[in-house]
Subunit: 225 residues, 2 copies
DNA sequence: AGTATGCCTGAGACTCAGTCTCAAATCAAG
DNA sequence: CTTGATTTGAGACTGAGTCTCAGGCATACT
């Protein structure tokens, strides 16, 4: 009945991933051979590779779960794009920091291992592709091809920054800001993704004293997409 | 007198990188051992690793040049951020496609080799960090931390999309669009990077009938950064 | 010329990640 | 208890990347 996920029972046997992260952090990533790592988490070298694929992937095992949950959420959400993305990223963060001790240990491991930071970029890109497909699907007609591309990249980058912030500051301080940031970001691309044309949209205008009609017209056009 | 860069003399000996890319494309990346690759470009295995560091890096050797030129350009440009970035990315594209034959061959190699696509993500991230630092430097006061992060990621993503487009379509068709796209992208983040604060700034506001004071205040705050 | 100095190359041994094969073990029924 | 399927472990094997050492090959010095 015990799942292999997070801290359910107080002193349940730690998951292999958590044990691996701790071992790698304490002994150094490059210095650790796969044999000793497999020993440390109580399985043979063969089984280690069968289960985790590689020494790098054992560190990022959580992302598989986070990614599949995000996909589910993007597929079924009927909220606005802005809200869907804000909730989706928040859910991802929740999954990745579910076991705070391991999460912080992994963060420290990444900080001291350039090789793993590079691997993280690759993992992260899977989120970007996921958001990109979602945004392309829900984009308003007339949205150019580069819209979803640009926004997906920006969303993931902001999310990563929030995750890094979380390592330093407390929990909610970091993620509360994330939602506001993402909302502000998506708002800049209204009406492609933000509020549907009309509806509950709020646009603010202030005309510089000397603005020419052309300036005004161009600014309005920008605001309307 | 002959440089080792691009197609200067008609039948000058091809650069080691170009030869390597051709060999890998024709024989398959995974199937090629470093020994045979080193043979193909006329050097020993030892020298190969000394010069290129790894089998992966020989494919992306051009990026070193592109990155240093971009850095130079970002450091010295006194144009607006929007123009600087548009010109910078265009220059990068120019460097990367300077030898069109090799560039297309590399593209084909990437298409058939997931491992190299992952490596490309890592290389690409160096551009992102470069743009991010630049944008943070030139950002208007009051720009939030996530501004440069989001925009840098978006710029690089759009640039990559343009490079992929170039592989399919003709030269200028792809890159002409790129400049327009980047300008439109940066415009969405005015006045953080676009127009300097004040000056020729025009902000447009339209209040939805039922907007609450909170809505208005928040929207105004967003517009002002 | 001859010689000394410093750099680049090649050869080969070595480590270790990741793959593959096969045999033992574990488990689920019947 | 037996049968059959899945999981595990042991060990051989491939190939990337590192390291050391010995031999060119140049330039500089006498």
């Amino acid at each position: 009945m015990t799942t292999s996920t997070a801290a359910s029972a107080p002193d349940a046997p730690a998951s292999p991933q958590a044990t691996a992260v701790r071992y790698l952090t304490e002994h150094g990533y490059e210095q650790t051979t796969t044999s000793s790592l497999a020993d440390a988490i109580g399985m043979s070298r063969s089984t280690f590779f069968r289960r985790f694929g590689s020494k790098e992937d054992v560190v990022f095992a959580d992302h598989d779960l986070a990614l599949s949950q995000l996909q589910e959420q993007l597929d079924t959400s009927d909220l606005t794009a802005s809200e869907t993305i804000a909730r989706g990223t928040l859910e991802v963060s929740r999954v990745l920091t579910r076991d705070p001790v391991t999460a912080r240990m992994r963060a420290q491991l990444l900080r001291s291992t350039p090789l793993l930071r590079e691997r993280e970029l690759v993992i992260t890109h899977r989120y970007e592709r996921m958001f990109q497909r979602y945004l392309a699907r829900v984009a308003a007609p007339g949205t150019p091809d580069w819209g979803p591309i640009a926004v997906a990249a920006a969303v993931v980058a902001v999310h990563n920054a929030a995750l890094r912030r979380w390592m330093k500051l407390g929990d909610d301080h970091a993620f509360g800001g994330l939602t506001r940031e993402l909302t502000a970001l998506l708002a800049k691309f209204a009406p492609w993704f933000g509020g549907e044309a009309g509806a509950s949209r709020v646009v603010v205008a202030a005309f510089e004293a000397g603005a020419s009609p052309d300036d005004v017209l161009r600014a309005i056009t920008d605001q309307l997409g």
